[in-house]
Amino acid sequence: MSTEFEFTVDGETVVAKPGQTIMDACDDAGVYIPRLCDVEGLVPQGSCRVCTVKVNGRTAAACTQPAEPGVVVENDTPQVQGYRRDLVRMLFHEGNHLCPICEASGRCELQAMAYRLGISQDSLYPYLQPVRPVDASHPDIALDTNRCILCGRCIRASRDVDGKNIFEYVGRGIHKRIGVNAENLAASDASIDDYAMSLEVCPVGCIIRKREGFFAPIGQRQFDNKPIGWEIEARHKNRIAVHQIDPSEEQS
């Protein structure tokens, strides 16, 4: 049972262990699949759909799809990258994102993903411009839900790592949002030392650590010099060149 097996991603052979998802196996092989809701150390939930790949011709979320022997996976193809651009754009247009004034700018995974996927121009999508609250009640943490992309990383981090359940989804559909386990964050037992509040968890500038803003100067921020996913691609046996889509390649 526990023997390794192979499948292909864009023609390249990838080795997988039983129980691994396509994402896991590709990560090990140094093949980067774009993602936002999935992050190492938390159970995958398959909600942002940015990791969409085609498996034997059918679309699936790589972070939740089990790897299977012999399957043919398409990852870096114009069609799949096009889907991802649409999804990332949807997230931008769903919330209120003003990167130039955002504390997360330069280390924000949403922004970095947009760059990586070659999103450079305005899209035809409408901006929803929702009216969303900021919860600044907590002495050390602020929550600016205007930038929340509902990735649920904070939910899983608090529940599975901190054992606290500070966050959970409330509402449904386009009204879905992140709820807090009390009237507000200050009334909950959230602490700045929670893993859920660490910089690794929230991919955008929604969970904000007070008094630590803009800690890295422009030019030295996480994604200023290397695109998102580079650390995974660095594991590749041939160290394939990091592939950032040229904006001129973008169709639509």
Partner: protein
């Protein structure tokens, strides 16, 4: 919180052993008694059930029938589906609004009434319809609204609205509903007078494996929409090693325009429960759940009594029909207003007391479903076919319908037709034949399969209703030539926006964009490129969504673009000289006017004069 309320909440939790998996039942009880589940109630429920307040809030806020704000003692939920609108729901809504002095979505200041819109409540054949608390009122008119409110103000009891009860079991003392069955065409499998237990007795003569083989041979396919072979589903569940297995009947019937399960639940509950019992015997399940949509709560007491009678008749419980080794029982799980809970894995989440969100697949429910046990989820109609197949044989069943679709199908016909109601027909019947029978000869467009189905025009009326051609759960909604097809598509998009669980990006956000794109065209601001925009966006939503809701939500737009291209081409215009049709200078200025709190000197010269 006052002590009385705390006592009520404690009682509700205690009634379900403080079990968080029974959260739906607990919340129903609290909502009924307190008319809301507010923050304090959530905290108390959470502490009693060992969960977190925000988890309880997550569940409360997911279901339309639960509310954190106090609802009126009497809550009027008016179906605002396109069928009801065509039948005059707008005037009915205005009559309610006017008489109550509140808009839909509001509660009167004295706390007596709430008025709400709700999607299809399964009474499409007697629209406009509404739920008043649990009581169904049908064929509404503004005049009836007056008398309804007069009665309610006097008695404060919606049940007193029922004068003449409907036919069949609608008049049962435990139902007492004004609902009519409207069975227009009975058929040989389901809507026929037979001994409902004959199939169960026959099945118990066979081994479980033989029963599964029998169902496989009948080629029975799921009637809930997807058409998965029932026998194969059962075999997969039976073959998964487990200590427990579950059989769940999907009676969520949320697809707009569908009401056939309502009629089966009313007239043939024994056939259904018998089918569930056979399924349990076949797969080795001891527990069954009937997931009943909140809109059908008026049937609950009657169904509970039917279950109780079956226990007394030794058709449920331990040692069923003398088989000492076979025990099975069924509980009813109430839904609470969420279309997505018809999707089988969401339905399981809901049964587990959670937000009704779909689960990741794999594992499939037959491998790991309710509480992690192998679970068979089947539609009411599918399970009702089972005893008939066991009694009459697989060959008999296969003798009806087409090669790929055996047996009969219940069609729910509504809209612009003379004889709306239920038709049991052999698979393979053409749309034209049904329209003829239903008296819809002047139909110009038909919605086949409800919001998630296809809106087709006259060119398609020769097509066959079966899994090989026009597959659906059986909704047939007729529109005559006076109806606006884009308005219907827009309504269905609103429905999906409202009912999306919001879990995944493409469905949560993409459907809102689709609707806005369609609106632009409907306002006459569309350009030819907007049609490509809608197609591409639909493609992304279908390809990347996580469950069947997002896989089908663009259908109203895609099918109308396919079958009514002229409607679209008449609405979109090529703009010369790089002018953007979508750009309306006055609208844009209005926003600026509000922000700047003043007018434009160039575009509002009269304003400049006055200064």
């Amino acid at each position: 919180m006052d002590n009385d309320n705390a006592t009520l909440i404690k009682q509700a939790c205690a009634d379900y052993d403080n079990d968080p998996r029974r959260m739906m039942d607990i919340l129903w009880q609290v909502q009924d008694k307190l008319r809301c589940i507010d923050g304090e109630a959530m905290s108390l429920i959470a502490s009693l059930t060992g969960t977190y307040r925000v988890e309880v809030e997550g569940v409360v806020s997911f279901y339309a029938f639960f509310s954190d704000k106090r609802k009126g003692d009497i809550t009027i939920r008016l179906c605002d589906d396109i069928i009801d609108r065509h039948a005059g729901a707008q005037a009915v809504a205005e009559a309610f609004s006017g008489a109550l002095g509140i808009q839909p979505g509001e509660t009167s200041t004295d706390g007596a009434f709430s008025l709400e819109f709700t999607p299809c409540i399964g009474m499409c054949d007697q629209a406009p319809a509404a739920l008043i608390n649990d009581v169904v009122v049908t064929r509404l008119t503004p005049a009836k609204v007056k008398s309804i409110l007069r009665t309610l103000r006097k008695t404060k009891d919606p049940q007193t609205l029922i004068g003449k009860t409907g036919d069949g079991a609608n008049s049962d003392p435990l139902v007492q509903a004004m609902v009519r069955n409207n069975i227009r065409q009975p058929g040989p499998v389901l809507l026929t007078d037979v001994d409902p237990e004959q199939g169960l007795r026959a099945a118990l003569q066979l081994s479980p494996q033989e029963v599964i083989s029998h169902i496989e041979e009948s080629l029975l396919r799921g009637r809930g929409g997807a058409g998965f072979p029932t026998g194969r589903k059962w075999r997969l569940a039976a073959n998964t090693p487990a200590e427990e297995r579950y059989v769940i009947c999907n009676a969520d019937e949320g697809e707009p325009g569908t009401f056939k399960d309502r009629v089966l639940l009313t007239e043939k509950p024994d056939l259904l429960f018998s089918g569930m019992t056979i399924a349990a015997y076949a797969v080795g399940a001891r527990h069954g759940i009937l997931y009943l949509r909140g809109e059908y709560r008026y049937l609950r007491a009657y169904l509970e009594e039917t279950l109780q009678r079956r226990r007394e008749q030794n058709l449920l419980g331990s040692g069923i029909l003398g088989r000492k080794d076979f025990a099975f029982d069924i509980r009813i799980q109430m839904g609470a207003g969420a279309y997505i809970c018809g999707e089988e894995s969401s339905l399981i989440s809901s049964c587990e007391g959670k937000r009704g969100e779909p689960k990741n697949r794999p594992p499939f429910p037959v491998q790991s479903g309710y509480l992690g046990y192998p679970t068979v989820v089947n539609n009411v109609e599918t399970l009702s076919c089972v005893p008939r197949i066991m009694a009459q044989g697989a060959t008999w069943f296969r003798g009806m319908g087409t090669t790929g679709s055996s047996g009969t199908k219940l069609l729910s016909v509504s809209g612009d037709c003379a004889r709306p109601g239920i038709y049991e027909v052999a698979f393979g019947v053409t749309l034209a034949e049904i329209l003829e029978q239903a008296g819809a000869q002047d139909a110009a467009a038909i919605v086949v399969g409800g919001a998630s189905g296809q809106i087709v025009g006259r060119t398609e009326f020769h097509r066959r209703l079966c899994f090989e051609d026009l597959a659906s759960a059986g909704a047939i909604v007729c529109f005559n030539s006076s109806r606006n097809i884009l308005e219907a598509a827009a309504y269905y998009m609103d429905f999906f926006i409202e009912e999306s669980c919001g879990y995944c990006t493409p469905c949560r956000v993409g459907n809102v964009f689709l609707k806005k794109g369609l609106e632009k065209i409907m306002h006459g601001e569309g350009e030819p490129e907007d049609l490509d925009y809608l197609r591409n966006l639909s493609d992304t939503i279908i390809a990347t969504s996580r469950c069947g809701l997002g896989h089908t939500s663009p259908n109203p737009i895609l099918s109308t673009m396919e079958y009514f291209p002229l409607v679209y081409s008449a609405m979109v215009k090529e703009r010369p000289g790089g002018m953007q049709a979508g750009f309306n200078i006055q609208k844009a200025l209005d926003e600026a006017r509000i922000i700047a709190k003043r007018r434009s000197l160039i575009y509002d010269p009269a304003y400049g004069d006055r200064e």
